[in-house]
Amino acid sequence: MAALKDYYNDDTTGGWDGGGLSIYSTTWEAQTFTASTTYSCGRVRVKLYKDSDVTSGHGNCTVGIYATDVSNKPTGSALVSASLLAYDFTATTSGTWYSFDFSTPLSIVSGTIYAIVVSFPGGNVNTPVKWKTEGDGTYAGGERFTSSNSGGSWTDPGSWDNSFETYLIGVVDEKFYSSNLVAISKDEVWYESTAETMSEFSDANGVLDADNPLMAVEAYQKLFIVNKTNLKIADFGNTKLTTTDIKPTDKVIPLKGDRITGGTSTAEMIVDYIDASDGSCNVYGFRTTTATFQNDETVTGTNDNGDISFTTSAAEIAPPHWYDWTVYSGDATTYGTMPTSSSLIALYRGRIVINDDHRPQAWYMFKVDDPWKVKYDYDNDGDLSAVVYANNLVGQFGDINTAFIAYKDDLFIFGGEHSIWILVGDPLGSGQLAQVSGKTGIWGSRAWCMDEQGNLYFFGENGIYKMPVSSSYSPPENISEMALPNLISDLALDKENHRVVLGYDPVRKGISICKTSLTDGDNTNYFFSLITNGFYPEEYPDSCGVFSAYHYPATNSAYRKFLIGCNDGYIREFDNSTTNDATTSSTAAIDSYFAVVKPLADNEDMEGKLIWMNGITAGGGTGGDFSDTDGVSYSLYSGDDAETTLEKMKAETDWTTATVYVVGDLVIYNSVEYICITAHTSNADGPPNEEPDTNTTDWLATQFATGTWTGTGKQTKNRVRMRGGWYGLKLKNDTASETWAINSIYINKEKAGKLR
């Protein structure tokens, strides 16, 4: 097994017009490269030839991989090396690729610059080895160096680059694929070019318009994007060939799956897609050979229709590619007609499924394993045929499509505005369309997610719903109606102004439910824990408002994370070691709190007395094995009943001047909550009485006592001696760069007589 990794082997632009300097004795050559991925390199190939006077007595030519210094020049001794007898090399000046296999593979680290060094110590000025060199020097990941003192020092001779290929070989490595993150903003597409680095897909710049609905799905090493009239493909797998005449006289066009071969290069490709049926055409396919297609070579093949033959108009172009999504060759007669505007997409049973914005109840399912054919063609394709909603017993369900969800391999959900329908099985098998709910729809194309068990969660008519996993499907149940009965009215959702996103975080075993303002990123969020089945309200800085969420299943487990796409264009993650929220250019403290309200007395007619309380904060002893908490402040409140007590601690608005306050208004001033006891307009009386802390005529502090638990473990008892029917305790921390956790709280209380 050998897998090509890093390379500069494109010999078409200048035909390896340089022979390179002669390599002999102490005259060495080097080519640096930047590792595109992390891998074990067991082989280097370079294109060499020998002087015709080289004999077996001149010995071996050696190729080694070296580290590089701060100037990116080779340094130190070879990290690995291998040798071949130079006498066995070709003397033809066009050279030949020779493989140098290392006995122990070298661990190559992504993003690191290495140097390939070629030496031939037994040669002399009349019997050198030469390394084929490209004068155009288009390799961006490194450069060529020469040394006249056996690598003691190196000089850069200019824009030349030497030919090379590195291979993963001879080691057990099951990974032959890579997952890379993709992010879409308003009119830009970015992808992870190297680990943890996003690069813009420049060909896609300015094409999309994310002010319109936009969805995408990954399939067949491509990203299929629907954005109203923008139906696009970001193709990360195919190699592209171009020709000015795909169908010369007496020839036929290549079909999907055809194998074609370059007459000069001997390169081979399995055709995937072509964008024209005659004349100028781009051919996309998977190259199966190391050899690459060259400019101006004849490419041939055969299929049931006849012989394929066309001439390339340029050398092959490596992926990624950006192009319009059309049916195969643009031939609507044979392959069908796609909708002109679409905004929903999913992948189901190997079929791409899209909607038609102009017929909002309609759906199109492409042929299985063929995203280029949407024509219903049962005669030729059988059960694999494409299906449009009207072709089969299953069809429209009346409601407007709002979400497409491939629920399981044999269940597809059509989320509607006011209903949910499910397709059971394949539309060309025994597929049946059934209504799951006529009581709720799905709020939008991103307002859903699934957990690891396949349970579906979505935002619907009256809150958050769960559709439990089962052998078929089950009606959705509202899981928020007890905890969040006013969710819909509280959120005041408006599709023109808000986005709702749900995302499953498998690490934290929970669902992030996010409502974000489209205009400024203002947000309201809940974390729904699958461990406790509880909802936890959260708020993020406006810059961090959530517009998309995704658990990234990176190839490298170190990069597998639950990510959110934010209002300011940054991709963020929830990080346990981060104690602030990273805003666009700074950080913001996290204001975190919770409260408990409990009875002090035995019944509603009695009062109790809180004698003392204390808490046990997280961390054990200071230092030690367990991570230590930061401090947490507490506030104590009392009241005659539970609701009054809770109300006292819910002040969230800062006191301001020139404001009309009425009895019962709650404000915060200098971190203390106050309740208005006399209607007034603030600042009307002038100093010193306008502020709540001194204006005791109009304001009453609601807190009975405050303090801070600092350090870890059991706190000193707080002796408070507070009377009341009920007590409330609020724990809070809003200090930058701090985080906290608490194990338990204890109180000591006693009876205090009848309620006054």
Binding site: K5, E196, T197, T532, Y536, I571, E643, T739, I747
Partner: protein, 76 residues
């Protein structure tokens, strides 16, 4: 005299009941708190994890949100 341990509202936020009837283990006032702490990952109440930039690149010129996130898997 009665010493009591207060049951922490690990069950999260709930506004569906009169606070007097508050479900065991829930509370009516909470923000930015999660049931599994960031210090040790234990099931106890604590501040939620902070939001960190996962990538240093700002996408969309800084004035546009990221509307779609996903990944693409390709053969090496």
């Amino acid at each position: 005299m009665a010493i009591q341990e207060i049951k922490l509202p690990l069950g999260g936020y709930s506004e569906g009941l009169d606070p007097k009837m508050q479900q065991q283990g829930t509370c009516g006032y909470m923000k930015n708190v999660r049931p599994r702490d960031v210090l040790e990952g234990k099931l106890r109440l604590g501040q939620r994890p902070g939001l960190k930039k996962a990538y240093s690149q700002q996408i969309g010129g800084g004035s546009n949100p990221i509307v779609w996130l996903g990944s693409i898997t390709t053969i090496d």
